[in-house]
């Protein structure tokens, strides 16, 4: 498989707005075992200077994975998802995601390169409010393992 370099710079259509709810944040915080009160109690969040409960730092992956499906499932790109493992992940926050946010994710293919028989694709997803206020930028690197590699996946 050789991924087409012409996909570098391609931006996909924005995701449908995602409405962040307090209970979804609580569910996510429970799933990562994080008892921080700012993820559950609006007053605890306000005591730290936030208008409503915060989402944990890795919560944006819930939105960006959905946006990423557009790339992963793009038949023109032809990524073989059965060979894909998560290589790297980066979040740069303008502010934390919080309950009540209505967020839109726009994903762009930032780079495609080959290394050690693997194809490595990095996407950048800009997450902003429906009013265009930036919230977080998320980079995900996926590694499509070539036949030479026998490393584990995740």
């Amino acid at each position: 498989m050789v991924l087409d370099q012409r996909f570098v710079g391609r931006t996909y259509p924005p995701s449908a707005p995602y409405e962040v709810g307090r209970e979804k944040i609580r569910e996510f915080a429970d799933a990562i075992g994080d008892p921080h009160p700012a993820y559950r109690d609006p007053q605890a969040a306000r005591d730290l200077g936030h208008p409503d409960v915060l989402a944990p730092p890795t919560f944006p992956i819930v939105l960006t994975m959905r946006a990423g499906q557009q790339v992963v499932e793009d038949p023109e790109l032809g990524l073989d998802y059965s060979r894909v493992v998560h290589g790297e992940q980066r979040f740069v926050y303008d502010r934390p995601v919080r309950a009540g946010d209505r967020l839109v994710a726009v994903i762009t293919v930032e780079s495609i390169r080959a290394a050690a028989g693997n194809e490595i694709i990095t996407t950048r997803t800009a997450v902003s409010t429906v009013d265009d206020q930036p919230v977080v930028t998320v980079w995900s690197t996926l590694v499509a393992r070539g036949t030479a590699a026998s490393d584990g996946g995740r």
């Binding site: 569910e27 996510f28 429970d30 799933a31 990562i32 075992g33 994080d34 921080h36 700012a38 993820y39 730290l48 200077g49 936030h50 915060l54 944990p56 730092p57 890795t58 992956i61 819930v62 994975m65 959905r66 059965s82 493992v85 998560h86 290589g87 790297e88 992940q89 980066r90 979040f91 740069v92 926050y93 502010r95 934390p96 980079w139 026998s150 584990g152 996946g153 995740r154």
Partner: protein, 142 residues
């Protein structure tokens, strides 16, 4: 935002309180549901082995979330984390027993930066293997 640690109280080389997290199959099922990542390698041993893994493995994003705890618990306000990046190096293998896997997380202040920011370098290991590499957090202190 109001990190409860003051920039003036921090020096390079300072260690944050470390933590060990237990990850069981039940945790993986719960994380799959909450995150929407239902990749079979995180809950189906047969399918995990078919793709060459030793057993079911934890979601990399769950390990990344656990590792962040060491930084956000220390800072007090999770919003103090302004940047966070990791490389997934070795999978966290989670056996089908009551003990699961242990993920040990350590973190060290590696740089004092301008504007009350610091760089924290995080390590996460499981069964003696490095689960995360080049894990770094940029933290805004009070």
């Amino acid at each position: 935002m109001s990190a409860q640690v003051r920039y003036a109280d921090v020096v390079a080389g300072m260690l944050l309180p470390s933590a060990t997290f237990r990850v069981t199959r039940e945790d993986l099922v719960r994380y799959a549901g909450a995150s929407g990542d239902f990749n079979v390698i995180h809950w189906n041993q047969r399918r995990a082995r078919e793709v060459g893994l030793p057993d079911v493995i934890a979601h990399g994003m769950l390990t990344m979330a656990l590792a962040a705890r060491v930084v956000t618990d220390w800072a007090g306000d999770p919003a103090a984390l302004v940047e966070y990046s990791v490389r997934f190096t070795r999978p966290v293998v989670v056996p089908d027993d009551d003990h699961g896997a242990l993920v040990e997380v350590r973190a060290e202040v590696t740089q004092l930066l301008a504007a009350r920011r610091i760089q924290v370098t995080v390590t996460a290991t499981s069964a003696g293997e490095k689960a995360l590499g080049q894990a770094r957090a940029l933290v805004l202190l009070g």
